[in-house]
Symmetry: C2
Subunit: 251 residues, 2 copies
């Protein structure tokens, strides 16, 4: 059984396109947030209860909607809701790319990471557009890729962050194994006043592409490659350990 | 000027203990969440406006409370609220350790990471207890450590995740430069019924210490060392790149 999660919510088009394709491979169960949870990062819910809604459509049980974050959904699915662990967790298909530094903020990526923390192989899939998304090419790629993935087996503790360019299948140039790029959103905040004259801010800002190096996810996707970046959850910057030891920090 | 943030909220005791000590070093400004934001991970707020409350205490302007996440606070502070970038962001002092895999869920750590993404040096400080916390030894350590840190300069893109054992200063064994450990919380969900008979779940679970290796943050803190783990925000698992290239993934 394949478990689907996302951060755009149970009824999101990207999730449904993925389900439709993956049903050709295996049983599929959805455990996804009741409502949109974009940019939730690796948030988990400690201070309120999680409610679970069993979802049937056309008489068929297709999964559970949870009033929590993407990481909550994965925890609850694997710990409580599923009878047996899934063979794979697929998170997505996200509306919008999760490239460069933006992977940090992504609920989609965090759901996949959470699965791997719990020992379940996982991938995140995102479509790099917000406008007129067609999820079908990305969903079809997932369907073709997953059997290859299950046959090879993911390296221990490694999650794949897959980003798909928003083009028809025939225009995919290829599959590129990439690293997380350095591109990031440069923040801008719109400053406004509410009807009572109080200031508030909306986060805006545009992606700044800071590099041109082949091998960065954001570079390869711009060239219409499907980008697959292996990521992990050990945040340690190992080269700094010896440098910091030389500081001889005093108590 | 030093910018303080946290995930326990503007009025949290750990933040205030830190402010008191760091005022001996420099000007200090607080930009922190209005309410508790524990376990928010690297969430940012896209779909609602951020409101900012200017806080004065005893006639003194001490900072801003924001109705957002820790990462929101740092973004808003550096982009809009502060006249000039801080020389350092200090996030904490968190109530509870951010050790092992738990660093992923931590709003405290994410606030520090967000600062470094924006190019501002930063550290996260956490006190490894939830019971009868005495933040003063950790705050005093921060006061002593920060001048050493500013003199040496952090490696580019590296954040320090500092965890302090809950003991009096005289019982600190030393400072250990560590890596993120493998320990994690093993989930349990309490299953309950609401007054209308509907099921809900509360996340529970205990930290499972899976290792004994010297050098892991969770191991050294148990030995009463102050743990300093250098972390970064490049999630790429570089050793897997060549392995995945060998898969020769088909389109």
């Amino acid at each position: 059984m394949i478990l689907l999660c996302n951060d755009d919510g149970f009824n999101a088009e990207g999730l449904r396109a993925l389900r439709k394709e993956l049903l050709a491979l295996d049983d599929v169960m959805i455990v996804a947030p009741e409502t949109e949870q974009s940019a939730m990062g690796h948030a988990i819910t400690l201070n309120q209860p999680l409610k679970v809604r069993k979802v049937e459509e056309e008489g068929e049980f297709i999964g559970y909607a949870v009033n929590g974050t993407p990481a909550d959904c994965v925890k609850l699915a694997i710990t409580v809701l599923l009878d047996e662990p899934p063979k794979l967790v697929v998170s997505g298909i996200n509306l919008g790319g999760n490239l460069g530094i933006c992977a940090l903020y992504s609920g989609t990526v965090s759901a996949a990471t959470e699965a791997m923390v719990m020992g379940v192989p996982s991938i995140a899939v995102s479509l790099d557009t917000y406008e007129n998304p067609d999820f079908i090419p990305a969903a079809k790629f997932a369907r073709k890729f997953i059997p290859q993935l299950l046959k090879k087996g993911l390296p221990d503790g490694v999650v794949l962050n897959i980003n798909v360019p928003p083009v028809p299948e025939s225009e995919f140039v290829g599959v590129a194994i990439t690293r997380q790029g350095k591109s990031r959103v440069i923040e801008e905040f719109d400053r406004r006043e509410d009807p009572r004259g109080r200031t508030y801010y909306w986060l805006a800002g545009e992606m700044l592409f800071e590099e041109t190096e082949e091998g960065a996810d954001c570079v390869m996707i711009a060239k219409k490659y499907i980008s697959i970046a292996p990521i992990h959850f050990d945040l340690t910057h190992y080269p700094s350990i010896d440098k910091l030891k030389d500081w001889k920090i005093e108590l």
